[in-house]
Amino acid sequence: MIFRPAAAFAAFALLAPLASAHEYTLGDLTIDHPMSFATAATARTGAGYVVITNTGETDDRLLAARADFPRVEVHEIVEVDDVMSMQHLESGLVIPAGETVTLQPGGSHVMLMGLSAPFEVGDEIPITLVFEQAGEIEVMFNVEARAGAEEMDHSEMDHGEMDHSDMNHDNSETEVSQ
């Protein structure tokens, strides 16, 4: 189930994106800014991202995630020679003692499969995160707009001036295979 707050709240949330950052505590773990991106109308998958900090002295492990979708898995992106492969982390994702692990685009994510409705900006998706040591907690993943996608207003984005004179490809990777 997706919670869809009243439109007025959603509109306010759009105007104050920083307000969408939110935090939970579970034992030694701090779970910060769970979020997902808005999807196309016919999308069948979504990805959940979150920042997890282990303030304790014992390693923990994100074993699994549960949510109201036909399949939910913790995934890691593995890149082999520019081929992207999503791997189900069947033994979980280690959250080392004293460290912060960020589930972020291009890295790892909670993959939500079999969506019956698209994610819209302002939606809140409840997902239960299951940890080996700290136990489990249900957190709300806030749906946000994706930079670059159509919902986004580019006018205030700071992407710097495009200065072609300063182009320097010398640092670019050029390991093109023979």
């Binding site: 196309a40 016919t42 520019d82 081929v83 079999g114 490809h169």
Partner: protein, 196 residues
């Protein structure tokens, strides 16, 4: 992201000597055999019409191969390309078209490709086709993909994540990796367009 060394040689880009008179010499990040990437394709656009490369690549085009069931890298790259097109427009290079070609035609119908492309960018063209059409297009671009058929609807597909900068008449001139930023793609693309 974890990077591993391996030998997916089948899709790697073959190097070739630079042409003596290379108008894009100052732009190239690497010397790639332009003649070996791209070429004719026949696919189905987001209206259901069969289109060829000549119908699609009518101006500078950023071509990406991916699939919409992919929740992470593909929308990340597609949105990056969309943002790069917007940056280019702001810098005076209108009319660069982002194209997303599915390598998962079994699930990516015309409607799904249309929805995905529309969400990413108003000018994005989403292309699907038969297995044979997609295979031929991916082969032409040296794009690699391999589905993990799990017997259910939730299978995943490994795929290369290059974006190819194509120019009409000229063909392939540059590629971008998944890790490149929208700024990097826009700046490099602008260099080629300025050199035309």
């Amino acid at each position: 992201m974890i990077k591993l060394a391996s030998s997916f040689a089948a899709f790697t880009l073959a190097a070739a000597p630079a042409l003596a008179q290379d108008q894009f010499a100052d732009c190239r990040a690497s010397t790639v055999g332009a003649a070996q990437i791209g070429g004719p394709f026949e696919l189905v656009d987001d209206t259901g019409a069969t289109v060829t490369d000549a119908d699609v690549i009518t101006g500078p085009t950023l071509v990406y191969f991916g699939y919409t069931f992919c929740p992470d890298v593909c929308p990340l790259d597609a949105a990056r390309n969309a943002l790069a097109v917007d940056f280019l427009a702001e810098a005076g290079h209108d009319g660069v078209t982002p194209v997303f070609i599915t390598i998962d035609p079994a699930r990516d119908t015309v409607e799904i490709m249309r929805d995905f492309a529309d969400v990413m960018h108003e000018d994005m063209i989403g292309l699907t086709g038969t297995d044979e059409q997609v295979k031929a297009a991916a082969t032409a671009y040296r794009a690699f993909y391999r589905a993990h058929r799990s017997g259910d609807e939730f299978y995943l597909v490994d795929h290369s994540s290059f974006t190819y900068l194509m120019l009409p008449e000229i063909g392939f001139v540059e590629f971008f990796r998944s890790g490149a930023s929208a700024d990097e793609v826009a700046e490099a693309t602008a260099c080629y367009l300025d050199a035309l």
